[in-house]
Symmetry: C2
Subunit: 532 residues, 2 copies
């Protein structure tokens, strides 16, 4: 039933193109060329169209959280959407936690969610559910296709919606008959929406505020955290002495030697208060004011000093890079940025039992140029604090707090950037949520080195139990935070998923293994035992 | 801050009880004594209350799909709800696919979903999301607690809602301050709602229809598929010659030697049409009319013959068992049921390369008395067809079509029934979705034997690709259905999760391993290689 090159398309009863082909062709014409997929029966025509239409790369995930998390990582690095292919409501549900993270990252992403044929919905078959309601949870744009003849146009709109600055999730529900019935052709791609330029009046006002040289900071998020925006921010800092900051969980930050350093806002509420103490001007570029990640009894949720004026130089949908450049020019800042990082690598730690600090220092020291760091190290982050002074790299953070995202994000980043080394640093608790992503790394031979920090607990919760004042901490409470009994064996888990894996319990062994991984190519995993 | 036995509770500033303790006490008083949990910071007071309040058993899952799937299995077997403990919207999202299955199973289940403190919501912190919207997707009852003083009463209502016949999901959102602030005490449990008795007039009408002795069938779902309801159905069959049926994916069916056999409706649309051909009367007991699982071009969605009259003897919320007994009495049926299964075990297959049929026959033959079979064997089910003539057991099916549910369901069933052997039969594709459940089986030392049918493909989809008329099936399409490259190693995966595991590639080896597993206790996994 598919038309192939050279085949006569005028065969009786054979449509030139079905809805699925119209959809896939339109996606490709719109610049969407990677499909992270976990399909089922209702998506079989889309799957078939992957062969009949050239230009789309399908990548299978064995769980939908892999699919959506990988699409997040791809979108962050490629700056254009991948599409997902998900199987009805439950397939979307399994991908939804990582979509929450992608929403917080403002990643452009197009979900294609298969559904029952339109006429089948009335029968409330076992897999039927309210897909649109579920899609609204994390998507900025939701549409259910009604016909094969219009699904191409729907796809073009979905891609455009995903690219609306700063980027969002667009979900297109695809009933099976909208995929299998006849379509006229593909739809034309829509122009990519450009971010708005910030107001000149606001630039002037912020410039005046910074000229006053009160204690100030510029908090940056989004594309302005890449080299060009950071350079403009560094010029402003050189001219005004302002501090430069980014969120604790910035979606993507270009950092490392030779780049302008921004202060990463700390995680805990009281630490944020201390970090912002004395600020009188806070200028936002694509960011919102910092808030506490969680509420705690007797701890502040709002850490910005009362006396601090908050100014918005650029909203998230505006061009933060252009705004910073306009501000630097308005200020008459010179061409040389301040706060440029000098390369400063930590020493290799002494031989002996491995701990998180030592492992982090080794990673920092040995990180290759132009790597991508997918960071869900959580409580094991301590040794990574000098990453801003290591080789230049892109740093990707867990944006929405839903742990388990960053092995999939690393996977998608590696698909987007096949020539760059991806280093994926993961706490063992979080890594368990979507470990299936390792299989996709193996199948696609992606150049990802995963380091599992195996502390064998939900370490952060042990601390949080006390911090929230719930100081009970008896045997039952501890049992919900402890991952011993049985101990997870990450070497076996990775090998079971087809990824070469090794374990390090000493500093020297970890340094050897990690150095080796940096020299080689392809997926591998190192279990860094930092337990007790 | 917690009050312990013997401690003077009149300490200044120490509340006698906080909201979390009020909640946990009320749950226990309402009969909810097992909590499947994957908590985070916002749930720490609930976690602490597990120690300060005696009577609740916490069971940790390393992914929320484990938690909700286990609560489904527990609820199906215990006939009262377990509660879950989930971490904000993303935690609920990760558990939602298995909640979809639980919804289709009409399982009583109470979700406790932690949220930010009420006053923290305004700050839209990274983990904030629209939890109530998400909860509505699968829950019949949703409420967000507003205060520690009323959260106990909320919990009592949630349990009652979960038990509303035939059973549903009740989701209580628990803001952190509703857990940590002071409460007056626990709330009184509410009376368990009883199923309505079906109308006598309808019983009379159905009796008249069956007396006409046209070709008829009774389609049963829910609690009437246990021994007592089946016995009444068998009496009716003996008196009228009617056929007895259950859905393809009945949530729970008591079957095996000595029990009344019901015909399981086949999966594929055209097979259902053939199965129901000629029926003139279809009587529903807690069931809806059968429909095709998926739509296919040129295949029917509605398989019931046009000439067939559909009668509703009992709705799902009514007492189907009482309805069947009333019908049997109204008909004047004798005490002896027809269709009682005689034990008829398949022969042990000949030695040689293992296949799905041989593995299924061995399982059927060696199944111990009173086992629980958690069945997601999918395309590998063929060898299990004579289970209705094996030792009596409870059979649990994947009710909502969201694959990956049944390892968690087996886990929860084993918690509910610690003295019964649980046999969990799983296709390898589906098993990958929520494999983390094996770790919970290991930690809790549950008596579950998992058999992975390793055909190393999404086998059903290879067939479906052709069935839907999407006959392309080129290299890309096949790549999304094939689980080779790399091959999953289930022995390593299970061992990595702390479960003893072995692999069988021959019939005789599988028979040995399975026989051994049936003699022993505790979790183990057998990878039954049935590839190629």
């Amino acid at each position: 039933m598919r038309v192939r090159p050279g085949q006569n398309v005028l065969v009786a009863n054979v449509p030139v193109m079905n809805g699925a082909e119209s959809l896939v062709r339109t996606l490709i014409a719109s610049g969407v060329t990677v499909c992270f997929a976990n399909p089922g029966t209702s998506e079989m025509h889309f799957v078939a169209a992957l062969d009949s239409v050239p230009g789309m790369r399908p990548i299978l995930g064995l769980f939908e959280g892999v699919v959506t998390g990988a699409a997040d990582g791809y979108g962050r690095m490629a700056e254009r959407p991948a599409c997902t292919l998900l199987h009805l409501g439950p397939g979307l549900a399994n991908g939804t936690a990582n979509l929450h993270n992608a929403r917080r990252a403002a990643t452009p992403l197009v979900n294609i969610v298969g559904d029952h044929a339109t006429y089948h919905a009335q029968f409330d078959a076992p897999l039927a559910s309210n897909i649109e309601l579920l899609a609204r949870y994390a998507s900025g744009w939701v549409h259910a296709a009604t016909s094969a003849r219009t699904v191409g146009a729907d796809a073009a709109r979905a891609v455009r919606a995903a690219l609306e600055p700063p980027g969002q999730i667009a979900t297109l529900v695809l009933p099976a008959d909208a995929a299998w019935l006849e379509a006229e052709g593909e739809a034309s791609p829509l122009p990519r929406p450009e971010p708005a330029l910030p107001s000149g009046a606001e630039v002037t006002r912020v410039a005046a505020a910074l000229r006053a040289r009160k204690p100030s900071a510029i908090l940056i998020r989004g594309a302005a955290l890449k080299e060009r925006g950071l350079r403009a921010a560094g010029r402003i800092a050189a001219h005004t002495g302002t501090r430069l900051m980014c969120d604790t969980f910035a979606p993507r930050l270009q950092q490392g030697a030779g780049r302008v350093v921004v202060e990463r806002i700390p995680y805990f509420a009281e630490a944020i208060v201390a970090h912002l103490a004395g600020l009188e001007e806070l200028v936002l570029v694509g960011a919102k004011p910092p808030v506490a990640f969680f509420a705690y009894p007797d701890k502040p949720s709002w850490p910005v000093p009362d006396a601090c004026t908050i100014r918005i130089l650029a909203h998230a949908h505006e061009d933060g890079t252009a705004a910073l450049e306009a501000l630097a020019d308005e200020l008459g800042a010179g061409p040389h940025p301040a706060l440029v990082a000098e390369r400063q690598l930590p020493d290799l730690p002494a031989a002996g039992k491995l701990d998180a600090i030592a492992a982090g220092r080794i990673i920092t020291r040995l990180l290759p140029e132009n790597a991508i760091v997918s960071d869900e190290a959580a409580t094991s982050r301590g040794g990574l604090v000098s990453l801003p002074f290591a080789a230049p790299h892109d740093h990707l953070a867990l944006t929405g707090g839903s742990i388990g995202s960053m092995i999939p994000v690393a996977t998608g980043a590696a698909v987007a950037c096949p020539d760059r080394k991806v280093v994926s640093v993961q706490g063992d608790g979080g890594a368990m949520y979507t470990l299936q992503a390792l299989w996709t790394q193996a199948r696609e031979k992606l150049d990802v080195t995963t380091v599992i920090f195996a502390n064998r607990s939900y370490a952060i919760l042990a601390g949080e139990l006390a911090r929230v004042g719930a100081s009970g901490g008896g045997a039952k409470a501890r049992s919900t935070l402890d991952l011993h009994d049985p101990t997870l064996d990450w070497v076996k888990l990775a090998e079971g998923l087809g990824v070469e894996a090794t374990r390090a319990e000493t500093t020297e062994r970890f340094a050897d293994l990690f150095a080796n991984a940096m020299l080689g190519r392809g997926p591998r995993l190192i279990e860094a035992v930092i337990d007790g």
